[in-house]
Symmetry: C2
Subunit: 129 residues, 2 copies
Amino acid sequence: MKDISQAELEVLKILWQSAPQTANQVVDALADASQWHEKTVKTLLNRLVNKGAVSFAKEGRAYLYSPVLQQQDYQHKESQSFIARVFEGRIAPLVAGFAAHKNLQASDIDELKQLIASWEQAQTGATDE
Amino acid sequence: MKDISQAELEVLKILWQSAPQTANQVVDALADASQWHEKTVKTLLNRLVNKGAVSFAKEGRAYLYSPVLQQQDYQHKESQSFIARVFEGRIAPLVAGFAAHKNLQASDIDELKQLIASWEQAQTGATDE
DNA sequence: TTAAATCTATTACAACTGTAATCAATAGGA
DNA sequence: TCCTATTGATTACAGTTGTAATAGATTTAA
């Protein structure tokens, strides 16, 4: 799968929210959030299809587009490569940066604590699988 | 500051490790880690200078290059934009993704716990500043 | 049935990127 | 002093990206 560009990602996000959608539904959804011309959005949809990240089914006049690449898969792959590239593969420094810049809310801390709790739960009795 | 491309980042990392360095020192450092031709590395250095991310001082025959953009600043800016773009600004889901894919080590968990502890420490008595 | 509207596909084009090669200035050696 | 090696600057060139416009196919309205 070729890399998804930033503009393409915005289009993909619309399809992750709901699918399938016609090109015009996607255009409308993006009209709220961006200044993109209809032609631009259609180009992006086309490129996503060519990259294999989106599929379509002919539906008479228009096509119905659906994501092939799933959001979790995309997020995980991008996270991996981002952390590898920018933080030499270690995640804590990223979180530390947020903390240092006061970009962490109490709610984030709560979520992290819960994550840690369930991670530790999972380890208990599971001898590293 | 224009965006730093991925190849440029690799060069910048060498200068973050140690500065100032001559072009040839950078080339040598990268020769270990990559297959880049000397000319390629020099082009990247030049682009970094044009982007304002690196400065140089003439030193007779060769130049001495130093980073202008600091690693912490780069990391923080990239983290912000990455989390915004891929996780709608929330950091916990990123960590959760790592946990789900078993990409978290006990050492990561320890670091995160320490971070949380010091964050909570900082909150205590500090009425949100 | 013919024209107009509407889709997708193709083409456009400049900026940025990866990956170098060539040019121009200069420092050292013969 | 003159040639050669070296170093940064300029140029090259194809692929990607952002941002559309145009062309071609087809449906629909008159």
